[in-house]
Symmetry: C2
Subunit: 343 residues, 2 copies
């Protein structure tokens, strides 16, 4: 073993060493490395053997210097950090994206924009070309970061439909409206007639669409819309708790509630419990996401599953396609009703 690496780091082999070892030229090694077209089988074999023998790994900096690509992508989170700390959905998404990118040998750079200064720094970093594209997680509308990146021509894929951005930005989302319809229909199917809703923030597509689904189903069932049965939250647990209290105050006869996120639903369960309402006997509760929060809740939360694994892999697919020169695209994925004890 000539490459024994005990302790200090020594100079790694270059493409030149491999070429010499294989008895070919740099060009041939490079061709083998990049797809192997126009290389004779014997040369390819010799090169691959030399690579194994020397332990050669391509120097990405040298490659990037000439190709202009960085072969890395950014994962940009512009949510307030409290949400990131609280909501396990981010972790699932993050895991899914690293995994999908790993299949292409592309590292994920994590960028969290909390303060205004951080936003500026990150935008500068990205527009400088240090990443090939960006996976964006930022539900609120009018996010200046997204607009700046789009304007700078940086390939971009959002998680969830960005409100207020031109149609030229790619996004991948679950079918929020359809999911909400499924859940509310389920509640009505249980015989409930006074169904409340705790929406997400109404400047997010998730907030708007899930509320729309709720209203559609009530209408199709011939039930009117009672404004006292509608309150909105911000996806946080605490806002769910507060929302449930307002609902109970305004509509004490509520017998079911659709909550636009599992985390808020946890808060709703806590508030109902404190108010002495039994779940599901007195009030049936349905959530949205099917996150860890849904399993951890007691009773287990009936909810709408968002297909996070597919969302993340589609985000990566669409982003890489765009980096490769294809046009922006949007993907809507189906949801699924998951029944547990709460409804």
């Amino acid at each position: 073993m000539t490459m024994s690496n005990t302790g200090g780091r020594r100079k790694p082999p270059t493409i030149h060493d491999v070429a010499r070892e294989a008895g070919v030229s740099r060009g041939t090694v490079s061709r083998v490395l990049n797809g192997g077209h126009y290389v004779s089988p014997s040369a390819a074999e010799a090169v691959n053997a030399a690579i194994r023998r020397t332990g050669y790994v391509v120097n990405r900096h040298a490659r990037s210097l000439i190709t202009g690509r960085s072969d890395s992508v950014g994962f940009l989170l512009t949510e307030p950090q409290e949400r990131f700390f609280e909501d396990p959905n981010f972790n699932v998404l993050l895991r899914g994206c690293t995994q999908a990118l790993a299949a292409h040998d592309i590292p994920l750079l994590l960028m969290i924009a909390g303060t205004q200064a951080e936003r500026r720094r990150i935008v500068r970093y990205i527009t400088a070309g240090h990443v090939d594209g960006v996976l964006l997680v930022s539900s609120h509308s009018g996010d200046p970061v997204a607009e700046e990146l789009r304007a700078a021509g940086v390939p971009l894929v959002a998680c969830g439909k960005p409100i207020g951005l031109g149609s030229k930005v790619s996004y991948v989302a679950a079918d929020d409206r359809d999911g909400a319809r499924d859940l509310v229909r389920h509640l009505l199917g249980l015989g409930r007639r006074r169904v409340g809703v705790v929406t997400g923030p109404l400047d997010t597509p998730g907030g708007v669409e899930r509320l729309a689904g709720y209203k559609e189903v009530l209408a199709e069932a011939g039930l009117g819309i009672d404004e006292r049965l509608i309150v909105s939250g911000d996806y946080s647990r605490a806002s769910g708790e507060a929302g449930a209290e307002r609902l109970l105050a305004g509509a004490p006869d509520m017998d079911a509630v659709f909550v636009a996120s599992d985390l808020m639903a946890q808060g709703v369960l806590a508030a109902l419990h404190r108010a002495g309402r039994r779940v599901p006997q007195d009030v049936a509760v349905g959530g949205f996401d099917d996150s860890q929060a849904a399993v951890a809740a007691s009773p287990g939360l009936t909810t709408i599953r968002q297909p996070w694994d597919r969302i993340s892999s589609e985000m990566v697919r669409v982003l890489l396609a765009q980096v490769g020169g294809e046009d922006p695209a949007t993907v809507i994925l189906p949801t699924e009703l998951v029944k547990r004890e709460s409804a």
Copy 2:
């Protein structure tokens, strides 16, 4: 504005352009960029003005190619993904590390090693020199990844003391034993005498140390160790729930319990509630971490705060020092008792 960037991406200015614009040589621009030593004030000013005018940003690939550094670090998670999805501590740590690194303009590459294949891929990636160092989160002992990286001479800082690795590896940890002592003393101070414990995994330093602290305080209070009051979990919520059930079965007279993580404590609260025990009246409960889980629990969880912000900033500090050639170091940070309703 010569650099208007409407739509497509154009060729960014190089150090050469800046030099020409400022009327100096490449070397001078480079010196300004790297600390500004041996540069006259007038030249520095001219260069900075030229940088602003051209919108120049250094090409990191070109720099890395020659310096041999990548100016990036990896954040490596070798926990099972379920823990990553469930435990908000990871998010806090991740946020803290990105933030601390951002101050040095160093991006964080997120690496999650779930499967064996992923581990191999990631180790190859790291040992190839694609990152300057690694922030390691992996509590279990005998982690082969850590050992491989250490052997390859990659700068490494672990979060929590790695068991079974030579003393040559840096780590940053909270004072687990002391924290456990504080909490158990608090429980005894409330007059409780039958104090149970749900430990962390006993192949992790956190698991071992927190249990040791528990035993120390019982001994100093003249209370014997009752094995029926000791069960161990794996930091997951579910294991807390199971642990509490075993405790109740083995020691029905238990009047307090120290749980080695907040997440497990949530499970303990659920189990106690199901068993009809009131918290804190019948059983006082104390956790460890002071994570979101502690606040979200009902009743609010009395717990030991781990100083995550300092842990992450120290990890980054120690890692960068090591990248700069300094020797490995270990840092132990003090914890703090946070009182809430559960005890």
